[in-house]
């Protein structure tokens, strides 16, 4: 195809020192780029890349297409719902631009095949991700492979593009702290909820897995004595109990019996309002049979919407207790029917719905119903199914426009990086020989409106943060009760969940406490698994105690740091304040040193929003505004770290106990 170069990215030279158009076109043509994420930003990015002359593109995405993607992910159509985002994005783009080489991977960027060697095969990595864990992983891969990274995110009308060119050049993605999801104390969720979000979390985190997880022996915080005695969460199918009848039994136990028994614990209600048990199910539905309620207008139980079947049409309206009771029973029966049918088609005969998924309409029905009923128990203002879904799915609102802007900005930054790299290598053609002042990379923030003239706000990239545990030299400190904190919690809750590590190895001064199990001998595996169950002080070679320094390594991320353990006895923890019962923080001494440089305070800003929906890290819909002092420009910028922009803003955040 003949493509007049004047339409290519040919003029990015700063004034007066432009390279020739053909030189930029060549730059894009020769570059190999890796795109991680083929969602909202990914679709825009892929389109802009192929139209900017890029011909070698690989992309990774593990997600499949949902209807709610179609309002912005324009490479997907209704007929593609359920298919791989990466594959469909590739074929849609190729349909329009057949000459380009696009390789699509339907998989997790954490898979072993996408290792450091793999990343080294690219000139630049472009992230359009929606969750912090994957972003951290890619950041570490890029640091280890020494490949520059362009990071991005959008939330509603807000967006940002940041560049991370490598160690010692500028800040890595993790040089600034990222907001992490707030967890709730289990006892609050189980016995004494106070806010709407507690009712939702009870539904998604406690009751949902208890009822539907394929591992029926899963231990749960709901397995209290009275529940076990009443076999409250076990369907007695052998004796002919229908799923609907079972559901009414769960209803009566959870929303009535359990509350009645909690009321007997007088000390619990001294400073709290007493909850109210709901009327028994048969009274709520005026004697209608469980099976009739579950069926509603659809006796087959096949329809994937309980609210529709029982005639609750308006998701914006708060359900009454009776409506919620009906939706509850109908959704439980439908999910169990669906799982049972799926199980019958499997060799092992086991199938469940392991976790809440916001794209599963039945799961949304279930959570909306439970949350409504629970609100009624505890006198908490109920939320509409639409709002419950937003909270349960950590849904971030998203529009095409912001993604379009961000997609364009990513390519602009990528071009700057490629040019800089090429110049550095000294591979200069005649036209670019005089090109020494290519525009410098920028962080760019997209705002809702041009306040003070700036719709886009470019900021000089932050310098590396010496106290960054990932690209710097810092030591981290773990505060916990070493006599009750297990090595397993250290592995799962601290290293994997909090630090986003993939395959960590834990080394005590005298011995290896844990390494990635793949490929190990059986006796080694047994030993490590035993170690995981041990509390820190009881681990081999003397145990991990106050002051022990552990070496933590993850070869897959080439990420290594020292972890200082500090003991704080159980009695000194306030579960309300630190429900996790551990604190992970930068080692005080290291941070003290770092304050002399200008990195420590710089840029807690790249607030890591994610188009899309999944796993956006900020659960609270509060309005956390932070003022960030930009290290170099000295300009103050203010940004909305949370995702609060919705139409229903003000009314949402009330709390009643």
């Amino acid at each position: 195809l003949s493509r007049p170069s004047r339409d290519l990215f040919a003029h990015a030279g700063s004034l007066g020192v432009m390279m020739s158009p053909s030189s930029d076109a060549q730059l894009a043509k020769d570059a190999k780029v890796l795109m991680v994420g083929a969602g909202g930003i990914g679709c825009e990015l892929l389109k802009t890349l192929v139209l900017s002359g890029f011909e070698n593109i690989e992309m990774i995405d593990l997600d499949t297409i949902d209807v709610s993607n179609l309002n912005r992910q324009f490479l997907f159509r209704r007929k593609h719902v359920g298919q791989s985002k990466a594959f469909v994005a590739r074929s849609s783009a190729l349909k329009f631009r057949p000459g380009v080489s696009i390789e699509a991977h339907h998989g997790n960027v954490k898979d072993d095949k996408f290792n450091i060697e793999f990343v080294k095969g690219f000139d630049v990595v472009l992230n359009g991700l929606d969750n912090l864990e994957a972003r951290k992983h890619v950041n570490r891969l890029c640091l280890a492979a020494d490949i520059p990274l362009v990071e991005s995110g959008t939330t509603g009308y807000l967006g940002q593009v940041t560049v991370h060119e490598g160690k010692n050049i500028n800040a890595c993605f993790e040089c600034s702290p990222k907001p992490t999801p707030k967890s709730h104390p289990i006892c609050t969720l189980r016995d004494t909820p106070e806010k709407p979000v507690h009712c939702v979390a009870y539904a998604t985190d406690l009751l949902f897995p208890k009822l539907f997880n394929s591992n029926r022996d899963l231990t749960s915080d709901l397995d209290e004595e009275d529940a076990r005695d009443a076999r409250a969460f076990a369907c007695d199918a052998e004796n002919g109990e229908s799923f609907a009848t079972f559901a009414t039994r769960v209803y009566d136990f959870v929303f009535r019996t359990k509350i009645e028994s909690l009321l007997l614990k007088e000390e619990m209600w001294e400073k709290r309002s007493r909850p109210k048990p709901l009327p028994a199910f048969r009274d709520v539905v005026k004697g209608e049979s469980a099976d009739d309620v579950a069926a509603g207008a659809d006796a087959t139980l096949q329809k994937p919407s309980a609210s529709e079947a029982v005639g609750v049409a308006d998701a914006q309206k708060v359900m009454t207790v009776e409506q919620a009771a009906r939706v509850f029973v109908s959704s439980v029966a439908r999910i169990m029917t669906r799982d049972a049918e799926a199980a019958a088609n499997r060799e092992d005969g086991v199938c469940g719905t392991d976790a809440f998924d916001k794209d599963d309409a039945l799961a949304v029905d279930f959570v909306a119903a439970v949350s409504t009923l629970r609100s009624a128990n505890y006198g908490i203002p109920p939320q509409s199914p639409f709002d419950v879904k937003g909270v349960a799915g950590n849904i971030v609102h998203a529009v095409a426009t912001t993604n379009a802007i961000v997609g364009g900005l990513i390519v602009l930054e990528a071009m700057k990086i490629l040019r800089k790299k090429k110049d550095a290598k000294g591979v200069e053609d005649d036209a670019s020989a005089k090109q020494k002042s290519y525009p410098p990379c920028r962080y760019t923030f997209v705002k809702k409106r041009a306040t003070n003239n700036r719709l886009l706000e470019p900021v000089e990239p932050d310098p590396p943060n010496a106290s960054c545990a990932v690209c710097g030299q810092a030591r981290l400190e773990l505060v916990c009760d070493t006599e009750s904190f297990t090595l397993g919690r250290l592995l799962h809750d601290v290293l994997k969940k909090k630090l986003g590590m993939h395959a960590p190895e834990i080394n005590a001064p005298e011995t290896v406490l844990y390494e990635h199990l793949e490929g190990l001998e059986e006796d080694e595996i047994a030993q490590y698994e035993k170690n995981l169950l041990a509390v820190l002080t009881a681990t081999p070679a003397g145990g991990v105690r106050n002051g022990t320094e552990l070496d933590i390594t993850d070869f897959s991320q080439k990420f290594e740091f020292k972890l200082l353990v500090t003991h704080r006895p159980r009695s000194e923890w306030d579960e309300e304040e630190d429900p996790d019962l551990f604190i992970l923080r930068g080692d005080q001494s290291a941070i003290g040193e770092a304050e002399e440089g200008d990195g420590a305070e710089a840029g807690g800003d790249a607030a890591a929003a994610g188009d899309d929906d999944d796993d956006f890290e900020i659960v609270d819909d509060g309005d956390e505004l932070e003022i960030v002092e930009s290290a170099d420009a000295g300009t103050k910028r203010k940004r909305d770290a949370s995702a609060e922009e919705g139409a229903e803003g003000a009314e949402k955040a009330r709390r009643v106990e």
């Binding site: 179609l70 049409a313 003239n453 700036r454 470019p458 009643v656």
Partner: protein, 610 residues
């Protein structure tokens, strides 16, 4: 000539499940602009002039969002150049009509949006058929010359159609908005504060609060557990009352008084001080100090954190609203004026405290005017019963205020000879909830911009000398873009474009032919463009060498080098911004941009220039 059209797919959203299907598809954006915003978007008819990447990307974003329909106007044929920068044409479209090709591909994005195209030159439609535009809500124009744009703007203004004009020239983009008047009610500012009136309680709120005060009904019988659930707004009402500060102006709240209020809050929750009247500042403060804050229940901590509500001016009229209320339109309401203006007139009478129906036209707004109550209350630790009661009190007061505004509004409706029913109760309530940020935006017309009239020249000269380097930079970009427009108008091609374009293509607006191999006259074009820039600067009274240290000269060189190129990267960004502005104009939500916004992709900056 309308030659292709896809009607709204019948049954695509069939009666059953229609709402649900839509909700699922648009879920993520409903969370931004709500179902009423979506409904407005779904009735929006958009016309696009010129199907280059900038315009097409804009429409793409709108089709995804679910507008009612789009109509594309373009008479060009698809060339290899289009395949290079426009995603919505296929190789198989080469040689076919561009409008038809693009319309078909856009339609695939969202089949509930209907599409049409007109295979006709933009200039011809604007010149000969201005009524064509009456059918649209918004016209998006890209790559349209200023001369044609001025005519188009006039046609749109006469028919109350909004205009969004976009252009990409190399790494520089411009976004222009124009409309006679754009009314914003739901501005959705980033920060809002609740208006709780704890220092100016109306009788019902005062009565409710009194019940919790010592000696006030239930106040003495509460257990500690119950006391810990008194909503903090109630506590503040009682503390203000106890200090004798009800209705006191903010200026009366000295540092001492504020400290006393905080001490009184603490005292009210310390059991030892329960029977002590909180008016006794000294004793309360002493008790509080002795016990510290640690023992305070959560609702008391919340009250302390919210203490500023005690000394903030209740229901103050924001300066921006004062400006809106001084709009001359309010004093000359025409029968068919939008209800927005009648409601504003009603609000102004309410704020003046005019009794009954006789609104005095000349009275100034009293400095202590109090807004109609917004009516929502924040998160507070409370029992459900009390919270719901409090919520009801605020809601009822808000409704009563809105009803009062409605009474005034109906007076103005009658006076203007319009039907009283033109404004409903619901509308008045909705209006009052958002009234604090009501605003009418009026942009300068393109005609005035083109002729440097209505202060446009002076405004631009000022921007060129703006101390903010970004603004001055973008203003210089704007001057060069205007010069390119003049050049194109006279030569029929972009500066730097191959000469063959001029020779081969008689039609002014066609810049689609030509290739890199063709002969260009870079030096000649640079000279010509430079001289136009100098003339332009003279027209507005600015001097080239004094503009930003001679930066204009290098911008001229760059403009010739880009030769009217429309790189997709820049077009994509502009398409995002353009669609966003269209959505603001259509939904009436969020504040739109200024008349002309310049985007510089190399620096990743934007600035409002005019």
């Amino acid at each position: 000539a309308l030659v292709w059209s896809s009607p709204r797919a019948p049954g695509a959203f069939a009666a059953t499940g229609m709402e649900e299907a839509k909700r699922r598809r648009y879920d993520r954006q409903l969370r931004i602009w709500g179902e009423h915003g979506q409904a407005r978007l779904e009735s929006c008819k958009v016309c696009l002039l010129h199907c280059g990447p900038t315009g097409v990307e804009t429409i793409k974003n709108l089709v995804l969002g679910g507008i009612h329909s789009f109509t594309l106007v373009d008479d060009a044929l698809v060339t290899p150049r289009d395949l290079g920068n426009n995603f919505f044409v296929h190789e198989s479209d080469l040689g076919k009509g561009r409008a038809a090709a693009v319309a078909a591909h856009l339609h695939e994005l969202n089949t509930s949006v209907s599409g049409a195209f007109v295979d006709e030159s933009v200039d011809v439609v604007v010149d000969q058929n201005p009524d064509f535009f009456a059918a649209f809500t918004v016209v998006v124009a890209s790559r349209v010359s200023m001369k044609t744009l001025a005519k188009l703007d006039e046609a749109c203004r006469a028919r109350d159609v909004a205009l969004v004009a976009l252009d990409t020239l190399g790494l520089v983009g411009t976004v222009r908005l124009s409309r006679t008047e754009h009314r914003v009610l739901e501005a959705k500012p980033e920060e809002t504060d609740f208006d709780l009136r704890v220092n100016k309680p109306w009788p019902a709120l005062m009565d409710f609060a009194r019940r919790f005060a010592p000696g006030g009904g239930i106040g003495d019988e509460l257990t500690d557990a119950q006391r810990a659930h008194i909503p903090w707004a109630v506590t503040l009402v009682n503390v203000v009352e106890g200090l004798g500060m009800r209705d006191a102006p903010p200026s009366a709240w000295t540092a001492d008084r504020r400290a006393a209020a905080k001490a009184a809050i603490k005292a009210a929750f310390l059991s030892r001080a329960r029977d002590t009247p909180s008016a006794d500042d000294a004793e309360a403060a002493a008790t509080a100090a002795a016990l510290g804050d640690a023992v305070l229940p959560e609702n008391a901590t919340e009250a302390l954190a919210a203490a500023r509500h005690a000394w903030k001016a209740p229901g103050a009229v924001p300066p921006s609203l004062k400006e809106t209320l001084s709009d001359p339109k309010l004093d000359a309401l025409e029968t068919n004026a939008p209800s927005f203006w009648f409601l504003l007139a009603g609000l102004r009478a309410f704020l003046r405290g005019d009794g009954g129906d006789e609104a005095s036209k000349l009275a100034a707004l009293p400095s202590d005017a109090v807004m109609p109550l917004e009516g929502s209350i924040p998160d507070m630790t409370s029992t459900t019963e009390w919270y719901v009661e409090l919520q009801r009190l605020y809601r009822e007061k808000a409704d009563a205020d809105a009803d009062a505004v409605l009474r005034h509004t109906r007076f103005f409706l009658r006076a203007a000879g319009a039907s009283e029913e033109a404004v409903t109760r619901e509308e008045a309530r909705f209006f009052c909830r958002h009234a604090a940020h009501a605003r009418a935006v009026r942009w300068r017309s393109v005609k005035d911009e083109l002729a440097w009239a209505d202060g446009a020249g002076a405004a631009l000269a000022a921007k060129l000398a703006d101390p903010d380097a970004t603004v001055a930079w973008c203003a210089a970009r704007y001057v060069v873009a205007r010069a390119v427009d003049v050049y194109r108008e006279t030569r029929g091609r972009y500066p730097g474009a191959p000469l063959s374009v001029e020779k081969n293509d008689a039609h002014m607006m066609r810049d689609d032919a030509g290739d890199d191999d063709d002969v260009c006259d870079v030096e000649g074009d640079t000279r010509a463009l430079r001289s136009i820039v100098e003339t332009t600067l003279k027209e507005i009274g600015a001097e080239a060498e004094r503009v930003n240290g001679g930066v204009v000269e290098s911008m001229v060189v760059e403009a010739v080098r880009c030769a009217g190129g429309e790189p997709h990267t820049v077009a994509a960004v502009l398409g995002g911004v353009g669609a966003q502005e269209v959505i603001k104009l259509v939904t009436g939500q969020f504040e739109p941009e200024a008349h002309t916004l310049v985007y510089d992709a190399a620096k990743a900056v934007t600035a409002a220039v005019l």
